[in-house]
Symmetry: C2
Subunit: 126 residues, 2 copies
DNA sequence: CTAACGTACAACCAAATGGTTGTAGAAACA
DNA sequence: TGTTTCTACAACCATTTGGTTGTACGTTAG
C-alpha cells in the first residue's frame, strides 16, 4: 500500500506531533543529544508540565522514547518513525512524478494489464 | 545554502494539514486527477461545507491550489510544498545519520536567513 | 425566465489542544 | 535525617478544530 505499514491513526499522530515548532525543536535536540525532560524544559519558555505534554505527544507518535535513569527520564529519538513519514511524503511525490501508472497498478491491485500509462480507473471511491 | 524558504508557521500548517486522513486522501486524489470541490465532497461521508474546510486547510498550507472554472472550483496539487516537507524530514534523518557537523552549523545560527526551523523561545544551549 | 448546481460564508456546537497551577511521590544529596 | 530535584498527574481555562445547518449568490441548464 501507499501507506506502508503505518495505519491512518499512526500517520495522524506523527504529523500532528510535527505540526508544532517546540515539538520539532525537541526532536532536533534529542537527535543531537539525548536529554532528560527537565533539561529539555529548561530550554523553553513554558512550564515543565507543558514540555512534559509535548514529550508525551511525541511519544504517542513514536517519534521519541523515554528511558528511566534514576530519577530522570531520558528522551531519545526514534528515527524509524521519522523515516517512515519521510518515505510517505516521497511516495506522494513519486505519484506526482511520472511513476503514477505504477503506483496506480499497486493501488488497484491488478497487474495483468501491461499498458504502461493511461487513465484507467476513474473513481476509486473507498 | 541548501536551506528551505519555509517559516515555522508554514511548516506548522503543512504538517497540521497532513495530520488528517481525509485531507491526505484529498491530496492523493488531486495528485491523481484535478477535481472540483463538489466532486471531492461526494467522495466522503461528511457535508460539503466540511470538505470545503478541509480544502481551505490544505490551501492555507499551500499543498493545493484552487482555480475557478465557470461555477466550479478546480483543486489541483502543489507538489513543491510537499517536496519541501519531505526534504525537511530528510534533513532530520541526515542529522541523525552522522552529517551532524553541517547541520550543527546551520542550527547554531538558525535565526537569520535560514528560517528552516528556529527554536521557538529560548536560546539553543544555555 | 426559472430551476438546479457549485460555492461561499456565517452561526453554532462538542471535543481536542496547549497552556497554567497545584499536589504528590520517588530518588539523590547535604 | 531533611531537603532538593525530577517526574507524574489532576483540575482548570482559553482557543482551536472539525463538524453541523442555514442562507445567499453567481453560473449553468432546461
Amino acid at each position: 500500500m501507499v501507506v506502508e505499514t503505518l495505519t491512518n491513526d499512526e500517520i495522524d499522530r506523527i504529523f500532528h506531533a510535527l505540526a508544532d515548532a517546540t515539538r520539532r525543536d525537541i526532536v532536533q535536540r534529542v537527535i543531537h543529544e539525548e536529554q532528560s525532560v527537565s533539561t529539555l524544559a529548561r530550554a523553553y519558555d513554558v512550564s515543565f508540565a507543558a514540555v512534559q505534554k509535548h514529550v508525551a505527544v511525541l511519544e504517542r507518535a513514536h517519534l521519541i522514547t523515554k528511558q528511566r535513569h534514576g530519577r530522570e527520564q531520558i528522551v531519545h529519538s526514534d528515527m524509524g518513525t521519522l523515516g517512515r513519514a519521510e518515505r510517505l511524503l516521497r511516495q506522494y511525490q513519486d505519484l506526482w512524478a511520472g511513476r503514477a501508472s505504477r503506483m496506480d497498478a499497486l493501488l488497484a491491485e491488478d497487474d495483468e494489464t501491461t499498458t504502461q500509462n493511461d487513465p484507467p480507473s476513474k473513481g476509486p471511491t473507498p
